[in-house]
Subunit: 251 residues, 6 copies
Amino acid sequence: MTTETLRQHWSEGKTSYNIFLTIPSPWTAELITHSGWETFTIDMQHGLMTFDTTLAMLQAAAPTGATPFIRLPWNDPAITMKVLDAGAAGVICPMINTAEDVERFVAACYYPPMGYRSFGPIRAKHYTEGNYFAEANDQVLTFAMIETADAVANLEKIAAVRGLDGLFIGPFDLSVSLGLDRIADFADPGLNEVFQRVLERCAEHDLFSGVFTTKVEDAKKVAEMGFNLVTCGDDSSILEQAVKGRRKALG
Amino acid sequence: MTTETLRQHWSEGKTSYNIFLTIPSPWTAELITHSGWETFTIDMQHGLMTFDTTLAMLQAAAPTGATPFIRLPWNDPAITMKVLDAGAAGVICPMINTAEDVERFVAACYYPPMGYRSFGPIRAKHYTEGNYFAEANDQVLTFAMIETADAVANLEKIAAVRGLDGLFIGPFDLSVSLGLDRIADFADPGLNEVFQRVLERCAEHDLFSGVFTTKVEDAKKVAEMGFNLVTCGDDSSILEQAVKGRRKALG
Amino acid sequence: MTTETLRQHWSEGKTSYNIFLTIPSPWTAELITHSGWETFTIDMQHGLMTFDTTLAMLQAAAPTGATPFIRLPWNDPAITMKVLDAGAAGVICPMINTAEDVERFVAACYYPPMGYRSFGPIRAKHYTEGNYFAEANDQVLTFAMIETADAVANLEKIAAVRGLDGLFIGPFDLSVSLGLDRIADFADPGLNEVFQRVLERCAEHDLFSGVFTTKVEDAKKVAEMGFNLVTCGDDSSILEQAVKGRRKALG
Amino acid sequence: MTTETLRQHWSEGKTSYNIFLTIPSPWTAELITHSGWETFTIDMQHGLMTFDTTLAMLQAAAPTGATPFIRLPWNDPAITMKVLDAGAAGVICPMINTAEDVERFVAACYYPPMGYRSFGPIRAKHYTEGNYFAEANDQVLTFAMIETADAVANLEKIAAVRGLDGLFIGPFDLSVSLGLDRIADFADPGLNEVFQRVLERCAEHDLFSGVFTTKVEDAKKVAEMGFNLVTCGDDSSILEQAVKGRRKALG
Amino acid sequence: MTTETLRQHWSEGKTSYNIFLTIPSPWTAELITHSGWETFTIDMQHGLMTFDTTLAMLQAAAPTGATPFIRLPWNDPAITMKVLDAGAAGVICPMINTAEDVERFVAACYYPPMGYRSFGPIRAKHYTEGNYFAEANDQVLTFAMIETADAVANLEKIAAVRGLDGLFIGPFDLSVSLGLDRIADFADPGLNEVFQRVLERCAEHDLFSGVFTTKVEDAKKVAEMGFNLVTCGDDSSILEQAVKGRRKALG
Amino acid sequence: MTTETLRQHWSEGKTSYNIFLTIPSPWTAELITHSGWETFTIDMQHGLMTFDTTLAMLQAAAPTGATPFIRLPWNDPAITMKVLDAGAAGVICPMINTAEDVERFVAACYYPPMGYRSFGPIRAKHYTEGNYFAEANDQVLTFAMIETADAVANLEKIAAVRGLDGLFIGPFDLSVSLGLDRIADFADPGLNEVFQRVLERCAEHDLFSGVFTTKVEDAKKVAEMGFNLVTCGDDSSILEQAVKGRRKALG
């Protein structure tokens, strides 16, 4: 699915489900994209991959046409530009605290005059119809993670940065940063208040909204709330649960 | 678990559950051995790994002490000796058809005078207490796969080969080779007849018995029948089922 | 292009051009399949890759749908089955000398009762519509290389082996083995006599015909002669020529 | 050895010897931890490894229980968090010059409210008893390298930063930076003055002390001075000396 | 060719031709350096390699003695020092905008007192005659890329930074940044004006001059203008053109 | 050192010392060849490398010009041809028992009409002056390992096989196979008798002689006896001894 189709889809109020990939393996990336997921996110922050494996995973996952997102390891222009050159359709930047953080992030994602991305789309150009340079600034999807108390405090300014496409909530770090009693509890009023504020800012600034969940019920709940990009778990955890459950069932 | 403990365990009529690893990844090997499986088998035949990944997986899975088996890619002394040097506790040889096949297989697993294994246990020696050369022939576990019509026809001679430790049934290839109506259907009388014959030969020749299953109920059934080493599925299939199921549940 | 389409194409007397990949790199495989080649051959014999890189190259080359052939390192059932499980559409076996060689080769490519391929199409099943087991024997393409004086002497018997899909001429080894004056000279009468005999045997036994060339003019010539699968060079040599030429042009 | 045991050990005034790993190889990491070293440091700064190899080395070295330290390539929160997620027990940060440098370093090592480490201990959680989140801030060991004239000038402020666990002297860079006559000469009065000042600051602020040495006699000397974590050489240099010496002995 | 020879060569007004390597493969690096190129640049910015592959490429390219340059992924001291330790003879830093940028870059390339490079030339020392520490600051070649409007505006100050060895023009990003009509058109007056200004600044400050080109005619043109280090294309593009051209020629 | 120089050297009765590489790492291969060893052997049998690492090690070790030998994993034409294509100067085949074994081995090493090696010296051609095809049969060095009781019994016939260049004794497997009291004890009369018989057969058939030793004194002893290629230990063992010794010296 191209990001153009995805934008259209989201603009109609639809939700896209997403899975995080943390296993550093092209094979599991290929297997998972053959299993019905229309978008996926390679998690370079807490996943065990670096650029080399990320590239191999982008290659292995390409045949199905699932849209590849990458969660960056950090707000760093070097790796941001490198994953875009390698064919990431969207990038999700962790640990955004301020509008200045967003500006640094998005400027690295766009060619001049919008930003300062350097030109050399070695692999990306093969996966874009038409002239890559002309199309790139319109195609790349940029999400800022909202996962700290600072980000919540600066939400209005963050949402207003030109060039940003969406806000993506990280409920684990957010719970910790806000000092909530339970981590990533989707029934927590404090967390839900942030969900609402993020949805409002997104509506106001024409941004897409996203959130990371680990349970199917939580994912469905936030989809109903109107979130566009809803992650439901990661491959390492899903595999761990499945093999633990199977071992236990054997007695 | 050392192979000595495993032999003791099996001699008391107990079953060890096992999982096949087909994802070429040290990380998933480490994750799975931290999830309660006391033995595992790296599948070099139909799995996507070669020796390099196999070595890395043996290393990553070592901390938990789960017993590492390796299904060989083929009955080939070069790779057999190499995985033993790398620290495989047990080896399972596919596509055994005759007693001569078994002789070729087991001779590669033992030092003279029992066999012709060449000396150089570069990694294995670090995971064996005492003198490796003195201990190795007693420790290594050798299983011949029974998965062809020829093997069934030659079962008596196969079971009688000196040095072999066990028979391990491969129900998929066996169903195909026997021309059974359904593949790997554990209710099939033809398959069950082979199960019985294998158990009888194992009892007669003091061999351990094993079988590959994909469902928990089949695994429990063969465990009750008395099989010692019971595999219940492989990581790629378990992951695929889990991520497909989750995607479907999201609607 | 599926092998079904390819068979259809060839049955109509058309030629498919092919390139050998010898650089062990998923990136160059991806780049080359985006450059207009509808089939390619990963050369595990003289190329610098092994199974690990071959798998990564199959993954990287998959998005374009170019048909992946693999030249086996040797007539060995272990690697033959492994590359088929990994998704090779066709396999080319080097150094075939006799009908017995062909029998050993093709038996490893087909499930029973046609052969003794073991079941476990871990990656291949994702790239086949319908039931893989039911389809596989019809889909896999098997080529025997004709590149020794012995093969020429035994041509009639080689061509008659049931299950073989085609003959593929290796003019370098063939020239050496026949003791021709110049290596792989397409004007050599001795070489051309073999070309004719191979085409005749193919016509007689309903086989496809192939040949390795290094020059565009030679490739066109053999295409006009009626060869179906015509390789024109390999990536290492093409790159070497291009960078040498460029350096020379700079003065 | 857990970091809890190590802290206890050091608090009793004992020394732990340590070796730096610069060869990018899981096998040598495994071999060395089987050779009696109770702690080791993967040197991501001057060693030839990056995160991928570091992860593989952590896995290969895990069975012996030797405590894994990592010298970071630089004071960068992205890689600091990533190696902690991957299971580093302690981190040593090079090129610390000021208290602000230390603050940036240690904040990346601790979860809120102590710091801003992001939550996702994908591998680390499997090697910690109890709840990882609750335990992590107490377990991780943080060392700042003292290896520049600036660091010596700012020593008092550096040592006073809350959250820092120890100071680790790098005598090579320190000699260069101080403009000493000989590099890393442990008899140099200038170097010894720094040793004393570091030990005093450590005593004052309840910090652990460490130093890199290359000779056994130097290591013993600083151990007697009271240093807790004493590195004695790196694997590349030790191997180089050994093979050079052997070649010379052959004549 | 040592950097000493290269400096001598350039001081006599000669040009060295150079090729960018973007394929992450030691084999293609080896192949290309055996094809007549006396210097090459591993492009860690837009090429698909990271440090691991870069190291392997430096090793594979070493036998021919071609001088290894590395284009850094970014102006980051961690990776700068790491590639110098690994044996880069020269480093080219992208996206330099100001004199401060240059200062940050060159300080990372030199040992004190010239800079703050940390000592540990693990591989580099084997490829330097004499004492590495004593020689290094004289040997390493440092080039700042001039490829933004800001850099052009700050050219005088950039050229004046002590320790910098040369200016290297990136005409693609430069065209984009200057808002020129056509990208990297060597006939563009705007681009040529920058060429002249760079040559003048180089003459004035005793700097070497370089430029990236993609066509032989452009490379010859800038060589005639007096540029010292003239890149003529990259391996991925050259391979792509060659295989596309060949496929087209076959009809 | 070319094999031509080596043959000359040996013909004058000189000894070349050699080291076995078992660590699967290009870096240690590079380090060791920079430490004075004029020949080395990559041990694909008991070492932890496969073809991929072997290739990388050949590349990393090439700059010094040390002569690369490879101990094959097994007497298998596929891997024999592949390592020759990759640039091995000499090959040592393990577990030779009969003259037929030698014939199978050496035929794979030579182009027709001497053998059946297939043509495609992708990397080797870059390291041979002149026409590779014309030179190869004269350059490649072939050693058969004498390490079983069968080989000793068949020594006369083994030594007489045309095309073989030398005999190389493996004292570990030989001791085991002969049932000697102590393994690889160079004072053992049984072992010394084999040494003498091998030297006699080599003299008689114009073959070179080699032996594997682990101690400097044993290496010197066999060199004095007249052995040409004398291995003195392997990198894993040398590193293990050195780090164990250092740890012990620290107390």
